[in-house]
């Protein structure tokens, strides 16, 4: 609906919120999305639902790949016209509100939603499509159990009959979460992380996997659905048998999986898969991920990994030994305050090279690396850590707030 069709209260609320967001940006306090959104919601608690009314909305959620997939889906949609999107990863309620208030009133919105926010976002935004990427252990100090997310998603999607879900068929938690949705497009992503889905989310009994990657509960009827789109190596195979080559600027399996999810989401919104994939292929780096920064003559490629599943993938992307690596670990609230997950990550794969451990919890990592038999040193500060490698070309992998710190500090170095 045009902005003028919004109730006076919502118009006033968004005006005030965007003014505050602009002020926050000018003061250098950040993007302003969070504070602006909070002001809007304080003035008009129903603003989210009203800002969304009449708009085509796509939501993207999951443990890993949200920001990248949101960017890819937006790029696929942009082949057809303008979109509104929270590309900076402001994925909580306040960020969603600011994004919608800032953007053109009629443009479709492609929004990343935090896993915990998704049920509320589904209920208030009435999305046309919801992409469910994956669910695995992350920030366990905050939510307690990963299954609670799956349960809440399932209930929210059951109550949203107009929504089509695009869901990862290779993640049993996601399949169960999408199980009561009216329309589902299943995507075979070839996900390899299974540590969080050994027991069935539906009945608690054991899930069995075959060598071909299919899975089924040994007790109830939960099983891998037949996907309409399947990632097969560098190709995506469609239901009609067509095989399309992925041409991406972003590296690795996780980004190929994100790309297929995004193309499937765009198709639900009326974008042909071929066009969608062309848009997806234009995405180069997303909020600093995979960006190369120069630090005193050294080229440092930045990789983000937030949890064991993400790290398992990041370790595959890190260039081979003997190239040294800097690994940064924090455990602030957005990271989860408990870094025990370091022991779920196969850091043994970094043997044969020097690893510099840094970040608030670099000492936890140092102990982990000691037991992994990896040569390492703890160095405080990201620029100092990069220098300590003594190399000209390195990868720096870090978890969420450590990644942000590294980006900020290395930009100044």
């Amino acid at each position: 609906m045009p902005q003028s069709a919004l109730p006076v209260r919502t118009r006033f609320a968004t005006g005030a919120g965007l003014a505050v967001a602009g002020l926050s940006r000018r003061l250098g306090a950040g993007e302003g999305s969070v504070i602006g959104g909070r002001v809007v919601l304080a003035v008009d608690p129903g603003a989210l639902e009203r800002l969304a009314a009449g708009r085509t909305i796509a939501l993207v959620s999951g443990t890993n790949g949200k920001t990248t997939t949101t960017r890819m889906l937006a790029a696929a949609m942009e082949t057809q016209g303008g979109v509104v999107t929270n590309s900076t990863g402001a994925n909580l309620l306040s960020g969603l509100v600011t994004t919608l208030a800032r953007g053109a009133a009629e443009a479709p919105a492609v929004l990343e939603a935090d896993e915990g926010l998704l049920p509320k976002a589904v209920a208030e935004l009435h999305p046309t499509v919801v992409l469910l990427l994956n669910l695995s252990r992350d920030q366990l100090d905050r939510i307690g159990e990963v299954r609670i997310h799956a349960q809440r998603w399932r209930a929210a999607l059951e109550s949203s009959p107009s929504t089509t879900v695009v869901a990862n068929a290779d993640d049993p938690l996601v399949v169960w979460a999408a199980g009561l949705a009216r329309q589902v497009t299943w995507v075979g992503t070839g996900q390899r992380w299974r540590l969080d889905a050994y027991s069935c989310p539906n009945c608690g009994e054991k899930i069995e996997w075959t060598d071909e990657g299919t899975w089924a509960c040994t007790n109830c009827s939960l099983a891998r659905p037949v996907p309409q789109l399947t990632l097969d190596g560098e190709d995506v195979v469609l239901a009609d048998g067509r095989r399309l080559r992925l041409d991406l600027k972003l590296p690795g399996w996780p980004n190929r999986a994100n790309a297929v999810m995004a193309a499937a989401g765009a198709e639900v919104l009326g974008v042909d898969v071929v066009d969608g994939l062309r848009g997806v292929g234009t995405v180069s780096h997303v909020a600093g991920r995979y960006q190369v920064v120069s630090v005193g003559g050294a080229r440092v490629r930045l990789l983000l990994a937030k949890n064991p599943a993400g790290w398992a993938e990041a370790l595959e992307l890190i260039r081979p030994a003997p190239m040294p690596v800097v690994v940064g670990i924090n455990a602030r609230i957005p990271d989860g305050r408990d870094p025990s997950w370091l022991w779920d990550v196969p850091f043994e794969r970094l043997r044969g090279r020097l690893v510099i451990a840094t970040g608030d919890r670099g000492r936890d990592l140092a102990v982990r690396l000691r037991y992994a038999g990896v040569e390492h040193r703890f160095v405080e500060g990201y620029a100092a850590a990069v220098r300590a490698t003594g190399a000209d070309d390195i990868d720096l992998a870090a978890n969420y707030t450590s990644f942000q710190d590294a980006r900020r500090e290395l930009a100044r170095a």
């Binding site: 252990r137 366990l140 100090d141 307690g144 159990e145 990963v146 299954r147 299974r194 540590l195 050994y198 027991s199 989310p201 608690g204 009994e205 054991k206 305050r337 408990d338 025990s340 997950w341 370091l342 022991w343 779920d344 000492r363 936890d364 140092a366 102990v367 982990r368 000691r370 037991y371 992994a372 038999g373 703890f378």
Partner: protein, 244 residues
């Protein structure tokens, strides 16, 4: 030393290893190898036959559904009971302490039978979930301050058949109002600390190992000492802030 190679059984890490507890097996095995003792880690999944001949059995923290599945498999096979009768060492964290006891709580609050290897009973807590740094003064000789991270909603009550592992200085621990943390009985030791517990508390790791191999030469744990000092400082700083 009973055998030339020690075997450490990691029980159902896919069911019980939610918080990196598999790391405890790595820590035990490496600390043996660094001292020239061969060690194997045997990872046992749901449905696998649990051997009765291992030297040390580890059970980690888990989510409610998988935890009940693990308790059922172990009580049907009786393998852990036989191993304990033969003198094996058992170390349980979080869900581990719950499964080792007489009973624990299902998600709906009803009671699920445990293995009865520890004289403890676990019920659903009524307050907030216990999440955060856990610090305890040990009640077992020869251990320094114990440090870890806890994350549990349940409350464990100790019976007369066990001693507490420690007295809570910071955090919640067993949560039954007696200020206790963990439980020890014979060669069965359980705690609410993960982190994992044995990485942060190498003396605790060595205590478990000494139950199998006897006295051992000390290792250079200076890197862990730095981590422990940092964690202890962090907790003290937080307490000071809260007390103001």
């Amino acid at each position: 030393m009973p055998e030339s190679t020690l075997t450490i059984a990691l029980l159902y890490p896919e069911l019980l290893g939610t918080y990196g507890d598999g790391g405890n097996a790595t820590v035990l095995a490496e600390r043996l190898r660094w001292r020239g003792v061969d060690a194997d880690v045997l990872t046992l999944g749901a449905g696998d036959t649990v051997p009765t001949s291992c030297d040390i059995y580890l059970m980690g923290g888990g989510e409610d559904g998988p935890q009940a599945l693990a308790a059922r498999e172990l009580s049907e096979s009786g393998a852990l009971h036989t191993a304990v009768d033969n003198g094996a060492v058992v170390f349980g964290t979080c869900a581990g302490i719950q499964v080792l006891g007489h009973e624990f709580a299902n998600p709906d609050g009803s009671s699920h039978p445990g293995l009865g290897l520890l004289d403890v009973r676990t019920v659903r807590g009524t307050g907030r979930r216990a999440i955060g740094e856990l610090l305890a003064e040990p009640m077992v000789d020869g251990l320094p301050t114990l440090t870890g991270f806890e994350n549990h909603g349940a409350v464990t009550h100790l019976g007369p058949g066990v001693k507490p592992l420690g007295r809570v200085v910071h955090g919640v621990g067993n949560g039954g109002g007696d200020g206790s943390e963990g439980a020890v009985s014979g060669h069965i030791l359980a705690t609410y600390m993960h982190g994992p517990a044995l990485a942060r508390n190498p003396a605790l790791a060595d205590l478990l190992l000494s139950w199998v191999v006897g006295d051992m030469k000390p290792l250079d744990d200076s890197e862990v000492d730095e981590l422990r000092a940092e964690r202890l400082r962090f907790v003290k700083r937080g307490r000071w802030r809260r007390n103001r």
